[in-house]
Symmetry: C2
Subunit: 337 residues, 2 copies
Amino acid sequence: MTNRVLLAHGSGGALSHELIRDLFLRYFDNPQLRAMADAAILDDLPPGRLALTTDSYVVQPLFFPGGDIGELAICGTVNDLAVMGARPCYLTAGFILEEGLELKTLERIVASMADTARAAGVQIVTGDTKVVDRGSADGVFINTAGVGVIPLGIDLGPHRLQPDDAILVNGSLGDHGMAVMMQREGMAFSSNLQSDTAPLNGLIDELLTTLHTQVHWMRDATRGGLATVLNEWAQTAGMGIEVFEERMPVGEEVRAACEFLGLDPLYAANEGKVVVAVAQEAAEHALATLRQHPLGKNAALLGRVTTSHAGYVTLETLYGARRILQMLTGAQLPRIC
Amino acid sequence: MTNRVLLAHGSGGALSHELIRDLFLRYFDNPQLRAMADAAILDDLPPGRLALTTDSYVVQPLFFPGGDIGELAICGTVNDLAVMGARPCYLTAGFILEEGLELKTLERIVASMADTARAAGVQIVTGDTKVVDRGSADGVFINTAGVGVIPLGIDLGPHRLQPDDAILVNGSLGDHGMAVMMQREGMAFSSNLQSDTAPLNGLIDELLTTLHTQVHWMRDATRGGLATVLNEWAQTAGMGIEVFEERMPVGEEVRAACEFLGLDPLYAANEGKVVVAVAQEAAEHALATLRQHPLGKNAALLGRVTTSHAGYVTLETLYGARRILQMLTGAQLPRIC
């Protein structure tokens, strides 16, 4: 038995079957996957509207403080469904492996995916593995697609955004981006920075159950950070958004790391943060609801939707000045997820 | 405007949005994709059981006689749904791009995906793009996941396989594998070999409409070829399968290329071939139905299911000898799809 990934693991033949049986089935086991058919049949979906999403994960390094590519690949797709108001149900997993990858590295990743899927209440029901020759990929890339169901009555999106809607976030900004950057720069030892990678479906479920239609729009602030989400919202809805620097929850270590590397935490990636727009009168109730959840302890009210400055995000700085918060223009942090 | 893929195209910021607007939306345009939400909402699915599948595509070279990675990424996922008896409806598309890839190469691929999706009657409703630094991937990798609906009354699978079931295939074997290999070896000029890449949902729909429940099981013979599918069937169903070498539809050029490269066409990959098990009494009807379709002109009856040799596939050779057709053990053709 080899202890590294061989090209033959991606051949569709005997070694492919061995990998599926001894690794993927062992960790992800469920009836659909066990059928090893060309597609999984999803027989027991709850009523509602179906939502479908996908993301590929190419994060470097594969393991970082507070998470790994496997945990990320589950959380990212779970969160993309959850912010649409969908209950995530089923995931696919597509692996692109580099020849020579240690099988025990792959096993650590697969074990982490299985743990995270269990925590998020989703099942990995179908998958695929390709192997490319050494030097043609970088260790492991993972794609997950996800199917969820939006319960009847839930309707979120740009058409629901109203002037004076409150803008909230469930906690500190930039933790994932800066934890990965510090690890990559070889400085992880000098900080306690941890990625915030987490499945948000539980928190979001609470929020929707409590506030119903008072929740207007949600988005997870991943690549491009909070600033990018707010800009997308302002542009798509054709309204202004006004936020306050003093209200931004940014941890001391993220602030220090950002200063050291010359980065802005408002653009740094998060993997466990949701930006929420709620009706003005529900702002305090939303904040309290978020803060009651373990993933929302540091939730904050960041600002509001305005009719002025349509299409733009304005930031009131600590010194009382007001500036436009632009969309991310370069590649601040490549391969952050 | 750059003419190559930059890391910033994967940042989630301004260049990512430009790529989505100017390339993906231009070719794949539909209301779900245009919403640019975290997940697509699938509102108008026909009644039936939902099927979900995924595959990643890493074929090298990206363009080969008879197809390209884009066409393959649509057909492969459409076919995985179709062989389950599902009508393919919606696809996701996840791109992993290598920094420095020419944007016009990406555009050719995206255009080919759009053409193929149109031909197959499916829509690409959500997607994702990641960019990795030069040398960390090989041009373009694509993942597609697909959602389809199995009409009520359709039930295919190992539990339907019966002794004496007829085994058919819709045409010549090994065309895709050998076309890619010849291109890779720089010998494409000396042959007219074309990949058979094609969406099979139309052909399969005809077959199911005509033969209903007389169709027992289907699978597309991709990586590992016909021999691998038959072995999976024999093992999963716990029956024997008996096939005849003289009935195998193998083109002259595939035969010549296989001889030249020392390969066996029964293990070579196909991307437009479905293996079908039908009730014994429906064999001729199934063959005639396949042959009436443009993608089934060279359909053949290959053999039958047996109670003897349970778990094994036996091949009667041209010389009347009988041998066991093993599952593929090595990696005959890496990065074939």
